[in-house]
Symmetry: D2
Subunit: 214 residues, 4 copies
């Protein structure tokens, strides 16, 4: 059994739900074989989200951490490649803070790459019949903040653990009248199961096309 | 019981499946209350599709006809407002024909509006938690061809019957590596059930915003 | 010389400018050879727009009428194929009216096709190095209202005249921080010149691919 | 006078032109006040592009370097925030190479942030009436390769110089029948002039909203 910490977020930007936490709960209720799932809900608040993540990592002592967030407007499940050392909020977080171009970790490296098998995860989700791709940016809001904070925590304090970030689309019920792409929470949960099993099962990645020209 | 004829299409443009026929079959296997569902699969071929539709209408003698097609790239279930009297194929149909700017019915009216309750159907699907909207164009390919042919058939030979056209998104398994929006067949089928019940239950429409500035 | 009436709209939806009227003025200031251009600015108001159009048509006595509107979000110049007999406003017009599913002309035909050479116009704009395509819907707001009213006026009172509708993108200065496609007014004006010359020069159309699957 | 090296790319992916080089040439032909412009055309080839960039930097001895590339599909001028240390080609480069997940500089930092005033440049372009935004990813193809290589070169060998990367949209003539956003080369060139003047004129940035939630 591989112990995996799986995190989701509280709702933000006026929404009543956040499908990331719904999908995480669905995975916990029906975990994939070979994986011991521990979950945590992170507040959509700069700073506090990382405090909650640190607590969860300390308590769970996981071998793999997968943080999950909502990427409204994206049509597929995206596995993030890189976290960058900047908070630059387009909207205020749930505590009203809106940092502009501030480092997440003063003096930290400009970026961290995920050390989950990026292409293997994307390929496995596709083979399960669900839409997925590599994302080259996790944005500059609380999702990237958590992703960078996670990778910095692992790099500096838990080098044996591995981590990454997955963005999922809106759930259909969030966009009934919005004309935006969606994916049901159950499908997103299934993608997360596949990613967890893939990430737990291998440390190296496969060679597969998945870049972006821009 | 209201007798409803529900049609889907064969696959086209190189795809192995057409979610419209899959969703129609799912509805037939688990029909909504108060509706007697009859189904037909139409070939994605100009002319032949209308022959098959006429046969199905003759055999089923339906009170309501809902034709369903795939609208790859659309993120939600769209109920079509209007069918126009032109075939203008961007790609060849399944028999290799590619008509350009030809009338569907020589001397027929320029267009027919659906006589299903357009806004009531869209509203009901949204209330069921699924994404839906009014579409102002069914295109100029076989879907519009069938929609126009249906409305012409009803107008000229079966004035007591009512009809309309619904476009559904790609299924997720069609676009695993495409970066396109999708909706699972089960969700599309549920939307069709809601539309059928709504269309069977009322002939007038509600007043609801659903237009487009362009 | 062919006399062409070219119309644009006043600004709407809170914008300070409407590139349709700016482009029309640019054409009038520098008209193409062989065309006698008369212009009119139409209010973005249901009903009043058609009153103004009728006045302009009566005064100008044109052989060809090209009405132009802004289609915010579209990336290219679109020549509209069909006008439908419905007002269904997503937003209020400039007088605060927001009709829902009302006919433009009570008892009028469901739709009119443009009788300008649709594909020839699109092809000519492309050959001039500018992006263009056929549009299968002019929406259900004041643009479609004017287009339908124009075609009804010509069909019922001026059968020798021909008419159509062209949508142009936002101007760049309208979307500096919006992430929306745009086309400079000068380029839109050049496209209009090409369309006017093409429409003045031929009544039949060419056979060219330009339909939509949905 | 500030000496600025401005680079564009050769055409790629089957295109006949690359608007980045066309825009760079237009700037060189009509440079903005206060700036001494030197230009170079870089091949769209991994490795060779950086060789050409190094040669150009050595010869020009610039205070500021702005590399420019085409971002087909983007509607506005984007100033890139960050370059990441990976080559991951979705398509082969002009020499047929298609590296997958390989570092640009073995042992180099995961990323470099631009040290041009990102928000000030975006704001200045908008104030000039042209559409612009911050981009959080330059992709993983030759554009990012050059951007990362540039920042690494400046960081390790020319710490007094500053650099960045700007993506521009397709030119209209590239997408006449594509339904893709575009911006004329002349407008892109004007945006580059504004960026050069802004970058030459200040080293600190302004505080302005410009992040992305994902």
């Amino acid at each position: 059994m591989t112990r995996v910490l799986l995190t989701g977020f509280t709702p933000f930007e006026g929404s009543d739900v956040n499908p990331s936490w719904q999908a995480v709960q669905a995975v916990a209720a029906d975990p994939p074989p070979g994986v011991d799932v521990v979950t945590a809900e992170l507040p959509c608040v700069f700073g506090e989200a990382l405090d909650a993540l640190r607590t969860a990592v300390t308590e769970a002592d996981p071998e793999v951490v997968v943080c999950v967030g909502q990427a409204g407007g994206r049509p597929d499940v995206t596995v993030e490649r890189v976290a960058i050392n900047v908070d630059d909020a387009r909207i205020p977080d749930n505590a009203g803070a809106q940092p502009i171009d501030e480092p997440i970790v003063e003096g930290g490296p400009a970026a961290y790459f995920t050390n989950l098998p990026l292409k293997a995860c994307v390929t496995a989700v596709r083979e399960a019949g669900l839409p997925a791709s590599v994302s080259q940016t996790a944005g500059t809001f609380v999702c990237n903040h958590v992703f960078y904070g996670l990778m910095h925590l692992l790099a500096t304090e838990r080098p044996a653990a591995r981590g990454g970030f997955v963005h999922i689309p809106y759930a259909p019920e969030q966009v009934t009248d919005k004309g935006e792409p969606s994916l049901p929470v159950g499908a997103a949960a299934e993608a997360l199961r596949v990613i967890m099993v893939t990430a737990a099962g291998r440390t190296d990645d496969i060679k597969a096309v998945g870049g972006a020209t821009h």
